[in-house]
């Protein structure tokens, strides 16, 4: 049985704690029909395959800058440039690929799309429910939204 909360906390801890050395603490999970993303910047990636859905990793600007700085080996980030956007997309890629690996271990085969960056306040409308998992760290909270549905391959 797929437990999205467990999958996200495992993958989130693996990247944030295991790789970036942050003190990552998953907070409560929230299920919501319509999600209001109030944070500054997000990375959106779709999952397609035996399950369809999307994952959004969202954070405030200061957290984004600190995260990218860490990914670049401890740099101080001022203005976000193209290399920073590429790094943030790659962060989303690590998280969602990690989710795809976890799903494959449950026998669910999925592929992922190219990351898209979202800036500013966003409302997500979706047929399926989104689950939000905030992960708190010393550089701020990284909030991961996930919406996954079984693909019944209904003929159009």
């Amino acid at each position: 049985m797929l437990n999205e909360f467990e999958v996200i906390t495992k993958v989130g801890e693996n990247v944030l704690k295991g790789y970036l050395g942050l003190n990552a603490q998953p907070l409560r999970q929230q299920e919501q029909q319509e999600s209001y993303i109030g944070k500054d910047i997000g990375v959106i990636i779709q999952l397609v395959g035996q399950m369809d859905g999307q994952v959004i990793c969202t954070m405030n600007l200061d957290t984004v800058k600190s995260l990218i700085g860490r990914m670049m080996g401890g740099l101080e980030i001022g203005q976000l440039d193209d290399m920073c956007w590429s790094a943030l997309q790659e962060f989303g890629n690590w998280i969602v690929s990690g989710i795809a690996i976890e799903l494959s271990e449950l026998g669910i085969d999925v592929n992922i799309t190219h990351p898209i960056i979202q800036e500013g306040f966003t409302i997500i409308h979706s047929r399926s429910k989104f689950m939000a998992v905030p992960i708190s760290t010393e550089i701020g909270t990284v909030e991961i939204y996930i919406s996954l549905e079984k693909n019944n391959q209904v003929a159009v």
């Binding site: 990247v15 193209d82 290399m83 590429s86 790659e90 890629n93 690929s97 992922i112």
Partner: protein
């Protein structure tokens, strides 16, 4: 020291790999942003080793790996991808990759893998 081509659609990952490999004493002689670009550059510069991402537009890394094997059956390719599902790793190895490094990776893991492939 080896002459290496780095293939990844993400500028950030190309920068990270370039830094790691250069610090490890290797020389980056080419960079490619997708599989097609990789095949094109390979023919021009024949590097000793190629690091290959998988998820890329136009031609993905597995297809590019197969093309490079056709050109040179002895080509040394190390896959560097976040898509580390067992099925993907096996497909890459069966297709002729020397190793598979899952992103995000530690510097030592990449250098060790490259050394192994070159040996």
């Amino acid at each position: 020291m080896a002459k290496i081509m780095v293939v990844d659609d993400a500028a950030f990952m190309r920068m990270v790999l370039k830094n790691i490999l250069t610090e490890g004493g290797h020389e980056i002689i080419a960079e490619a942003i997708n599989g097609e670009d990789a095949v094109h550059h390979y023919l021009k510069c024949t590097p000793d080793l190629v690091t290959m991402d998988i998820t890329m537009p136009e031609m993905d890394g597995i297809a590019a790996l197969k093309e490079l094997i056709k050109i040179n059956p002895l080509v040394k390719v190390v896959m560097c991808s976040a898509m580390g599902q067992q099925g993907m790793v096996l497909e890459a190895i069966y297709s002729g990759a020397k190793d598979f490094v899952v992103k995000p990776f530690q510097k030592e893991r990449v250098l060790e893998s490259v050394m192994k492939a070159l040996a």
